[in-house]
Symmetry: C2
Subunit: 232 residues, 2 copies
């Protein structure tokens, strides 16, 4: 009976992988990739006809993909004008950091009651980031950093918080494009992340929270400075 329950659990966990295969979702995956890596810079207009013929899907399917990405805040839909790759304003960046402060500090405070395994998961992404840095893959460093922060909010064990954080960080990636060199933006924070992870594992949540807030301040300021410079 216990083995049976185990089956059931594993099967139901694998279920989403089976369903996952609609044309629109695949199209959305391709577009998301291209948006995140900068092939489709913010402000780009995505013509239904052009993209549709390029990917070989009908306009209806494409529009569904657009909806998916709009909900992820990667695209904006303007009536009768089309969809555009989202352009983050400085105010958006500030707002994203404001929400991150709320969710991630809540995550840190929940570390005490969280599963020890979840806390160790945080460090894993720190290591992945440092490995990517040594390999010189700064896009991968960005991904690892994103996962690190998602792991922090994952300490809350809340599906809805997880989903919100995922959207928030994907959106924030749009802002990274204003930074010319990704290295100068990501490199300093590798050590910060390592320190925060250590503090979490050691159980010093109060200091972890302070370090995290300090990180938010500097990272946000750096991004906003890049924005201001870009306008000048």
């Amino acid at each position: 009976m216990a083995a049976m329950a185990e089956w059931a659990e594993r099967l139901s966990a694998a279920r989403p992988l089976l369903d996952r295969a609609s044309a629109a979702e695949m199209v959305a995956d391709v577009l998301r990739e291209n948006i995140i890596d900068g092939s489709l810079p913010p402000g780009t207009r995505l013509s239904e006809e052009t993209i549709g013929s390029l990917l070989g899907v009908s306009r209806n399917t494409l529009r569904e993909a657009f909806r998916l990405l709009s909900h992820e805040n990667l695209l904006v839909h303007e009536l009768h004008r089309g969809v555009f790759v989202r352009k983050l304003a400085a105010a958006d960046v500030a707002d994203i950091y404001a929400m991150r402060r709320i969710l991630e500090t809540a995550g840190v405070r929940a570390a005490a009651q969280a599963q020890p395994e979840a806390v160790r998961e945080v460090r894993k992404h720190v290591d992945a980031g440092q490995a990517a840095a040594e390999a010189g893959d700064w896009v991968a460093v960005g991904t690892a950093n994103m996962r690190f922060h998602r792991a922090i909010t994952a300490l809350l064990a809340s599906p809805r918080v997880d989903a919100t954080m995922a959207r928030l960080l994907a959106e924030l990636r749009l802002a990274f494009h204003v930074m010319g060199e990704l290295r100068t933006f990501h490199e300093p924070y590798l050590e910060d992340n390592a320190r925060i992870a250590t503090l979490l594992i050691e159980g010093d949540h109060e200091r972890a929270e302070r370090e995290l807030l300090a990180y938010f301040d500097t990272a946000e300021a750096q991004l906003l400075a890049a924005y201001a410079e870009r306008l000048a």
Copy 2:
């Protein structure tokens, strides 16, 4: 020049009102209304053909509306089976309250730095709730209660937090249907809300937070008890 800047700001603020008008969005508005007020109870299957002919829109447009509502977590989409009004599990209710605790306590803590006008806005919804209660309109009491809590997170002045809270509370309304009598669910909290609003205005944020957390505990327990009873 200063007057000109003022115009510009107000005009750009009014802009979203102009765009708002696609058939899919209007259909989504109608369906959302019917879902929230209980006309379409959780578990109801929404046939494309039936709803489509009823509202006089094509299947394609209708499917787009379904997608919008699915993203709001009001509908669930099952492949090759159709869309259904979301049925909240007890775990969902707990998750929603977990996220509300995070966001609303953050709102209370932000009350000190918030605009005094925003703090007064909180009390307005308390009064509206009490007026609706005297009129015996318990659905309206529920709406006022929702607005009250949205006003609390509005103290953060974060568009993304606002949007998240709006979705969260709309979703939570799905759970209210398990309560037979809305009155027994809403009535006790009218006083709680009034007390919390008073504490906020007086600046006693610490006590306001404690009261708010106590409210979450009892309301969540009450809902979960109704769930448990319903399964029995």
